[in-house]
């Protein structure tokens, strides 16, 4: 603990007249904070003795000495720096020693440099959510992305698949697991129906969602990244089973001293779910399929860790979707998907605060689509490798240096016509985290990227900083440049004489965190340039996202997004009650793709509000959650309106509820859960599509209004042998 000498202290020897005393000396006084507020229960003692005292509720203390001596008075209190004062005490006198203690800053946590990011983690203090929150949040439906959509910055788009971050479309975000990019983070897109992510919360120990200004470690995402870290060695062997309205599955863990094997298989059949739900789209073949996974984890006492995992997934579905060419008719959309992925992650502790991380993965995804009598096949693969070396340099600086190689390809086949591309990207990065003092930190980084397909390279600088402005509050800021290839659609059909698309982020954030209450406000400005544009030469706008690409493309697109994100969470005020409120305001416009002028894209709502509440009834073990979501109307294209994309759909409102009951029968632990989405059966309209002649319009609606989902999760945890 830092020791400081107090200068404002006062020592006035007084002669005691009114009290009859022996030869004893008295030292008394008051201990206060810098602002003069008394500190109760501060400890006062004389150095190298066992004479001590406590201050009372008014900060007063007094101590008695018997013989003349030189004393060193020490005052301590939790949360304050220690103060010392020396004096020579004379017989029979009283000394008044007032001490002022300075707030201790060394015991406060270091600043965290994470503007733009929200975390869900079980072991980080700064996390906004824990992984358990993902299960217990109504409307999340047990999906990582579903829960993150209740945080500011991530827009829920019910009729499109992907992460929509601060005005960016689905292609502008990347999902990363253990440092490796996931090629297909969502189940294969179905026109007009948002798909779930492939991520179940139980696989991860930490989830960090960045809506901008992210680290130089990653690239190729103009808007944001979702970073997930898988679990390390499990704590105990378990056997789990679940059965719900969409299938059943089993999983288990075998545990050895320093390693573990985890595996699971799952059978999906959504017939029971769609059977009782009134859908707005006909699911003539509800999704059914099989999936399985296997993961091996090894660790040693030094902290080296190896994770090897493999997963496969196969499913088919059949839906009548709105014909994108003729919105008044529907087309049968049959999808068969097969997906497999393997990954390796190894982190070696070199010692001396240094580590080496090596990762590699390979994934393959195939969609066989039969759509309105046409065959359409899509195959994509991604192979990648990453090596990173990190080192603590002195006590204030931590730096890491890394390189990654990504090779991905896509092939599409329409009956006998086929298109394909293969892209190889090489990147290198260097980033440092410098904290000269606990209340200030700076994180500069630089990233180099090269694309073989575009034959272009770029250098992307990033910097963020954080400063603590008071005990529990900090301000942070970030700036960064981000580059990205044109989206797959343009890589596959377009000519490759294009450049990277570019975005620049500016972020300013204030965060207050104390005693289970978190407040966060973040303002941002993001400018886009070199976006891909189709040179449509005055042809009318075609809102069909599956339109063929007839026109040449170039990098003349541009745009901006600016807004404010606010988050408040309070777990403290009411016992067992937890709630959070998030609000986002965004102003964004862009000219890209086949837009005719700069406009707000059709997936953006300017105002988004989420209120999530949870209450835990401890005695019976029941968790109840209610989530209310509001989003102001989204733009839609009206060919009769001369102002492009200026019409707005009605506001979106949704109230979801979930109920879970935890129970235990001997060694069996179970959770019964029941979720109702859109309890009020609100008939949300997401936008409109017009007939080609512009005379009729058809509402775009979510696949479901009110829906009900129920299931049981059972877990068997064997007791340890030594347990009594």
């Amino acid at each position: 603990m830092k020791t400081i000498k107090i200068s404002q202290s006062l020592a006035i020897p007084l002669t005691l007249l009114s009290l009859a005393v022996n030869a004893q000396m008295t030292i008394k006084g008051k201990v206060t904070e810098q602002k003069g507020k008394p500190i109760p229960f501060a400890t006062i003692y004389l150095k190298n003795t066992i004479t001590g005292a406590l201050t009372d509720t008014l900060g007063r203390y007094s101590m008695h000495l018997n013989k003349k001596e030189n004393v060193i008075i020490i005052a301590t209190a939790i949360g304050f720096d220690t103060a010392i004062y020396s004096l020579t005490a004379d017989t029979g006198k009283t000394y008044i020693v007032n001490l002022t203690l300075k707030t201790n800053t060394s015991q406060l946590d270091e600043v965290t440099i994470s503007p733009g990011a929200m975390e869900a983690s079980n072991d980080r203090k700064v996390a906004a959510l824990t992984t358990l929150d993902i299960y217990t949040t109504a409307s999340a439906e047990g999906d990582v992305v579903g829960a993150l959509q209740t945080l500011p910055g991530l827009q829920k788009v019910s009729d499109q698949t992907g992460l929509f971050v601060r005005g960016g479309d689905a292609s502008e975000s990347a999902a990363i697991v253990d440092g490796l990019v996931v090629q297909d983070p969502f189940f294969s897109p179905v026109p007009g129906v948002a798909q779930r992510s492939r991520f179940g919360p139980y696989e991860f120990k930490g989830i960090s969602f960045s809506s901008g200004g992210y680290s130089a470690r990653y690239g190729q995402a103009l808007s944001g990244i979702l970073e997930l870290n898988t679990n390390d060695l499990p704590e105990e062997a378990t056997f789990n089973a679940n059965i719900n309205m969409a299938g059943l599955g089993i999983s288990g863990t075998k545990l050895w001293a320093h390693s573990a094997l985890e595996g699971g298989i799952n059978y999906t059949n959504t017939q029971p779910f769609y059977g009782i739900t009134k859908t707005n789209i006909d699911f003539f073949q509800p999704p059914t399929g099989f999936s399985g996974s296997l993961k091996y984890i090894w660790t040693n006492t030094k902290g080296d860790i190896l994770k090897l995992s493999g997963t496969f997934d196969q499913y088919k579905s059949g839906i009548d979707v709105v014909n994108p060419n003729q919105p008044d008719t529907t087309l049968a959309f049959n999808l068969q998907n097969s997906y497999m992925a393997y990954s390796l992650y190894y982190r070696h502790i070199i010692g001396d605060g240094a580590y080496l991380m090596v990762g590699s993965s390979y994934s393959q995804n195939g969609d066989t689509v039969h759509w309105g009598g046409q065959n359409f096949d899509k195959q994509d693969t991604r192979a990648q490798g990453r090596v990173e070396l990190g080192k603590q340099l002195g006590s204030k600086l931590f730096a890491y240096l890394g390189t990654e190689v990504q090779r991905y390809s896509e092939k599409q086949q329409f009956d006998s016509t086929s298109f394909s591309f293969t892209e190889t990207q090489v990147a290198g990065y260097l980033e440092g985290e410098w904290k000269p003092v606990k209340w200030f930190g700076l994180k500069p980084g630089v990233r180099f990227e090269y694309s073989q397909l575009l034959a272009k390279s770029d250098i992307a600088p990033r910097i963020s900083a954080a400063i603590r402005i008071n005990k529990y509050g900090q301000v942070s800021a970030a700036y960064g440049m981000f580059y990205q290839d044109p989206s797959d659609r343009y890589l596959i059909y377009g000519d490759s004489k294009v450049k990277f698309q570019e975005a620049t982020h500016y972020i300013l954030n204030y965060q207050y965190m104390y005693n289970d209450r978190t407040f966060r406000i973040e303002g941002y400005y993001k400018s886009y340039s070199d976006l891909i544009r189709e040179l449509t030469e005055g042809a009318p706008y075609d809102p069909n996202p599956y339109r063929p690409l007839y026109y040449p493309v170039d990098n003349s697109g541009y745009g901006y997004a600016k807004g404010i994100d606010i988050f408040w969470r309070d777990k403290k005020s009411i016992k067992d009650f937890d709630y959070w409120i998030s609000y986002s305001y965004i102003d964004t416009k862009r000219l890209y793709q086949n837009y005719v002028t700069e406009a707000m894209p059709d997936y953006v709502s300017a105002n988004n509000l989420n209120i999530v509440t949870k209450y835990f009834f401890e005695k019976p073990g029941i968790n109840v959650s209610l989530t209310y979501a509001y989003a102001s109307g989204r733009p839609y294209y009206n060919p009769n309106n001369p102002t492009f994309l200026s019409d707005r759909s009605p506001a979106y409102q949704d109230l979801s509820a979930s109920f879970s009951y935890l129970f235990r029968v001997k060694k069996l632990f179970g959770v019964f859960y029941l979720g109702v989405d859109n309890v009020t059966n609100n008939q949300n309209v997401l936008g409109y599509r017009y007939s080609d002649n512009g005379l009729n319009r058809y509402p775009i609606v979510p696949a479901l209004y009110r829906s009900l989902f129920a299931g049981v999760f059972l877990s068997l945890t064997p007791y340890k042998k030594d347990e009594l």
Binding site: I50, L65, G79
Partner: protein
Amino acid sequence: MKKTLLILAIALGFLASKSGQAQSVDTLLIQTYTAFDTAKSYPQFLMASNQFKLIAKQSPTYWLANYYAAWSIAVLSFQEPNKDKKDPMLNEADNFFSKIELMDSTNDEIALLGALLAQARLSVDPGSRHGKYGKISDTYLAQVVKLNPNNPRMYYMQGNSKFYTPKLWGGGVDKAQPLYEKAEALFANDSQDIHKPHWGKAINEKMLAECKEKKDK
């Protein structure tokens, strides 16, 4: 009343300092232990705990002095109403504990103190700390079983860990009670020697009574 006690405690410290050299550290420990054991309010506990800390600072190589300093802080941390103060308190306790942890690997009470400190950490934020500190506590308790299977405090702490774990997660009153009962039987053999830590009898009785009361409901 509070003030009188405070003055009394100060006087105690004063008396102790007066003839510091002449009195053995053990006598001081006994006095302070009595003060801690009979403390009725937070300031009284704090005062006695501070006294233990001062004694430990004076005798940094004496295991017992460090033991009582760390132990008293751990006990106090359970009472501390401000959650934010608990970790800094326990950091201080860890400083005392780290001085003696490796001093004597045959001393079951040192291992038990390790478990107590881990449980104190756990109780700061049970939701997120259960995994890490539960494991640490288990490791220390396993050590105690090996060294002295008749340590009553071990059963008391195992009882606590069951008592404060919801029935749902494998704990509960029914599981805790036999452990407290076993502890109670063993407490009867406890020595009253300051060199052999013997805390826990009263609190164990209280917990046992609470178990019985809850069961009756």
